[in-house]
Symmetry: C2
Subunit: 248 residues, 2 copies
Amino acid sequence: MTESELYDPARFPAFAVTVDLVVLTVRDSRLSALLIRRGEEPYAGRTALPGGFVRPAESLGQAARRELAEETGLADLPVHLEQLATYGTVDRDPRMRVVSVAYLALAPDLPAPTAGGDAADAHWVAVADVLPELFPAAQNRAEGHPPFAFDHARILADGVERARAKLEYTPLAAAFCPPEFTVGELRRVYEAVWGVTLDPRNFHRKVTGTPGYVRPAGGTTTRQGGRPAQLFTRGDVTLLNPPMLRPA
Amino acid sequence: MTESELYDPARFPAFAVTVDLVVLTVRDSRLSALLIRRGEEPYAGRTALPGGFVRPAESLGQAARRELAEETGLADLPVHLEQLATYGTVDRDPRMRVVSVAYLALAPDLPAPTAGGDAADAHWVAVADVLPELFPAAQNRAEGHPPFAFDHARILADGVERARAKLEYTPLAAAFCPPEFTVGELRRVYEAVWGVTLDPRNFHRKVTGTPGYVRPAGGTTTRQGGRPAQLFTRGDVTLLNPPMLRPA
DNA sequence: GTAATAGTGTCTCTAAGACAATATGAA
DNA sequence: TTCATATTGTCTTAGAGACACTATTAC
């Protein structure tokens, strides 16, 4: 029996629990995150991830979904949402002991967050502009973004790395695309998230040759210019075999 | 500004935060977990993961290390420790609202936990005996283990799956081995964790051909019987390239 | 000798990557 | 026409998996 287990259940050490959201999308061929500008102390004016306290009657996942709906102003979004990691160093919030459970959300290019409510200060920011070290190949026009509050730079970096890894082994790249998409659009997702360029010919052969990844939708589109491209929908596999490998 | 953010910092919703440990090792060529038998309500008599409350002055990782040292009776163990996931459904503990951060620890075959203190009720159990569905290939002699408390069966299953995945892309299999080990011993780790049998010849070629995975230690041993085997130590890479692939 | 494990070699096949060539729309 | 993107094809090479064979100990 540990010392800590001798606590009376009514006198356990009390923590605040929050959820923070790493919401990623691809806009204009750039990996972008939904970020807010903090309006109050601590870290007033700093860049931060959307999030908030978990309520007593909701699970962690429910809290993440609720915050996501509040921040984007839309409900029932077709977004992928998964738990990322939990951050609980002693001094991460100067006000009190806070443990934050981070969630990763992947979304197709959404309309700009609606004004009003929480979303007033939320906006899409290219990750390369706030965390240039994650995109060593790009020329980083560092724009005037305030530094991050709390440990949110680290959380965002962890979310990007998780997304990069998941694109290899799962069909999650399609979560960044509308319901019907072309092979070229899917390739631009990989290029934006990984920060690389891929050979369009090998990529095409690979995607269409991986069983269950994409299914022909029947039509074509010219929304990307050039020769009309076939439209596809997501297939039914949850694990890619063979995987899509990141260039070394 | 959400309703929840209007809380006065001194009146935030209070949660209890615990850490639970999935401690895995390989004993007698079987993947085994360190489990305890609960002595008190709720779930008295049930099987559970070791763990306990996070203290106000320690980080999550520090709490995990402390609990690990308390449960195994040894400090400064050469174990790999990483955060697994966080579990926070509303009713997972009937006493109060508890959020549990699970950690995964991988250890070489340790001495049996020392009697006295916390470790009194801790013992190694083959995972195939308590979660036979994770080892469909084995004939499962279901021994008389009490069912799991809380959601600990799920946490253990998640930990095993994490370990299985990490063996593919990282050199973590060596974390189950003593400082010097043979290729055959490393292969038996893969076989025990994945629940498969591997071709010793292809495995040998693969491990010794992956740059930085293992480094010759100079000596040989016959502790496994048969022809003397070369001893190796862990190499310096953190990511295997090419990866060790699980058989389909 | 036999049994057991270690280690090497060889073959086949899948798939990754480089890159030529063709197809089909828009301006 | 030119330009941009899509799609097919071909070649080379790395590596996974099957499996024959040899090596070195204990008994």
